[in-house]
Structure formats: structure tokens, C-alpha cells
């Protein structure tokens, strides 16, 4: 075990090791450019099936750690995987691969939209895309809602915290820090007791 844990599991078909930080950069760059509306599904396909750097279970384990930590999940995943392979150089290579090319691309788009500011159709199109953006976020919420049924807080308490969070943030417009400190500590205090 040790540092390579999760990179190679004895019971799984053999996994390979990335050759260099450069190989990490290229792989993460490639998967980031394929990911529209989220990179995680592509990451699984590329890292597990194509590169065979991770087993299926190894990937899921990595993903669950990435989701617990604050920050963008895929960036955390790249960070931890890169670190396990080549230390901080690997972490930087993987994060750089994930962010650099898509960042450049989206900024070019933003400049193009700004150049076309006077064209009413552009603003109209963006407004329509914004409605879909809301739908995309809500579909993620719907998927997560299924998982809450297994939450140890129980469905009624979970539903209560969901509604209170929504009210506090969207209607009352409380700062997020206050919501997390207030509702979050109440929710975690209850969870602590239920998990005893």
C-alpha cells in the first residue's frame, strides 16, 4: 500500500502508471476539452478505461475524497491523483492540464461575446442559454436528491435543511458563510449524534 494505494489495486486488472508529469498534463488536457457541462464522466472514461491509470474502485474512491473537500471536484481529483503519481509536480501538471486550454477557450468566447454586445440576438441567445444553465444545475440537484434517501439524518430532517438552505440563500439572501456556520453546524451536530 502506501502512496500508490488507489493507483494500483491487487485484486483488479493491472493498472499502469503515467510515464511523466507531461503525460499527466496531456491526458488531463485531453479529457477537459471533451467535457461539456462537466468533466467527471469523461475523466472516468479516460483515466480508467483508456489510460488504465486507475481501477474503477480507485476512481470512485478518489472522486469521493474530491467531493468532500472544498473546491471544484475535478480540480481536487486532478490534484490528488497528480500528487500521488509525482508529488507536487504531478499535481501542478494535472491541474494545469485541466484548466489551461479550456480557460483560454472560454476567454476567447467571452471576448467574442463582448465584441458582439451591440447585436441584440447575442444577448437574447445568452438569456435563453441562461435558462438552460439553471435547468442543468437543477438536474444535478435532482440526482443528488436521490442519494439523500440513504443519508443517516433521515428524509424529514434532510428535507428541512434543504428547504431552510434554499430559503436563506435564494430568498433571504444571507451570506453563504452565515448559512454554512449556522445551518451547517446544526446539521452536523445532528449528524454527529446519529452516527454514534
Amino acid at each position: 500500500m502506501g502512496r500508490a494505494a488507489g493507483v494500483a489495486d491487487a485484486d483488479e486488472p493491472p493498472t499502469l502508471r503515467p510515464a511523466s508529469p507531461r503525460a499527466l498534463f496531456m491526458a488531463f488536457n485531453r479529457l477537459a476539452l471533451q467535457g461539456f457541462g462537466g468533466v467527471i464522466p469523461v475523466a472516468q472514461r479516460e483515466l480508467v478505461e483508456r489510460e488504465r491509470w486507475l481501477s474503477r474502485d480507485g476512481f470512485l474512491e478518489l472522486l469521493s475524497i474530491s467531493q468532500v473537500l472544498p473546491g471544484p471536484n475535478i480540480v481536487n481529483l486532478a490534484l490528488i491523483f497528480g500528487d500521488r503519481c509525482f508529488g507536487w509536480r504531478g499535481a501542478l501538471a494535472a491541474i494545469g492540464g485541466i484548466l489551461s486550454a479550456p480557460l483560454l477557450l472560454v476567454l476567447v468566447l467571452a471576448v467574442a461575446v463582448r465584441q458582439l454586445q451591440g447585436v441584440p440576438a447575442v444577448g437574447d441567445a445568452l438569456r435563453g442559454m441562461g435558462v438552460v444553465a439553471a435547468g442543468l444545475v437543477l438536474s444535478t440537484a435532482w440526482r443528488l436528491a436521490g442519494g439523500l434517501r440513504k443519508n443517516r439524518l433521515g428524509v424529514p430532517l434532510c428535507a428541512g435543511f434543504v428547504v431552510l438552505t434554499l430559503l436563506a440563500v435564494a430568498v433571504l439572501r444571507w451570506p453563504l458563510a452565515a448559512v454554512v456556520l449556522g445551518l451547517g453546524s446544526a446539521s452536523m451536530a445532528l449528524a454527529w449524534r446519529k452516527l454514534a
Binding site: A5, P72, P102, L107, A125, V137, T165
Partner: protein, 185 residues
Amino acid sequence: MRELLVGSLALSAADWGLLFTHFAMLSLLAVGGAITTAPDMQRFVVREHGWLSDAQFTGSVALAQAAPGPNVLFVAVIGFNIGGLAGVLATMLGTLVPSTLLAYGISRWGERNRQSRLLRTFTTGMAPLTLGLLAATGWILLAPTHPSWATGVLVAGTIVFMLRTAWSPLWPIAAGAVAGVMGWV
């Protein structure tokens, strides 16, 4: 050229500091992904400081979703629309550096202690908040839209499409663009 580098709002040094520190603070609260902090970003940049309009804010998120790459890049577009490339640096470094340093430190500890009661308390307790924050994000992204039956259909259609098919979200995004140009939403 100047607009490309620092934007057209002419932010003061204090404003730059505020922008960076607010996003850095949100970085540490971004459990469940950067998008869960979008409501607070909107509260800060639209309501409190008026650096962007509701339409510009939602447009920034929509643009990022239409491009490939991690969802967190919506933060870069917001930064660009506030303060050009300097805005991108302020918002992206603010969003990424604190959480990344924390993740770097905690990940090895978390790997070995995944079953610890403390960690399970955290994930169990935060899960409903994450869901509430995603719902709030959806609500706030709809702020610039006039409520209409067509908006409802487009939102519901997007949700069903994403849950029932394995097709790319580019399809509903394109449909949204068409609906916008046609004046339906």
C-alpha cells in the same frame, strides 16, 4: 486593449482586494463544487457592488457551460466581465488557491480516515446543504428571465433531458439559444 486587461469598470485597489478576498473566502465554503457558491457570488458582485447586472451574471455562467472544461470556469468569465484579465486572475486565484492548498493538506489524512466519525459527520451534515445550494443556484440563474410558461417548459425540458438521456448538454444549450433569439424566453 486596456479594457481587455483590467475591464471598463475602473475598480479601485480596495475593490480588487475585496473581489479577491471574497472569492478566496467562498473557495473554502465550496463544498459540493464551485457552483454552490454562485448565489453568494451573485449577491456580492450584482447586489452589493453592482459590478455586473443580473443578465451579465447569468450570461457568464451560461457561456461557461457552453464551452468545454470544468464548470469552475464560470468564475473566470465572471472575473473577465468585471475586470478583464486582471479580473480573471483575481477570481480564479481566489477560487482555486485556498481550496487547493487545503485539499493538498487534507487529502492524505482523509484517505486513511475515510471511515472516521468526524469525516462522516461532515459529509452527512453537508449533503442537504449542498442540495439546497444547488436549488438556490438554479433559482438565482433565472433572475434575469421574465417568468413565463416557455421558461418553465425549457427548465423542465432540460432537467428531463439530462436525467433521461446520455446526450450532450450542448443540445439543450443550443435549444436555449434558439428560444432566446426567438423571444420565447
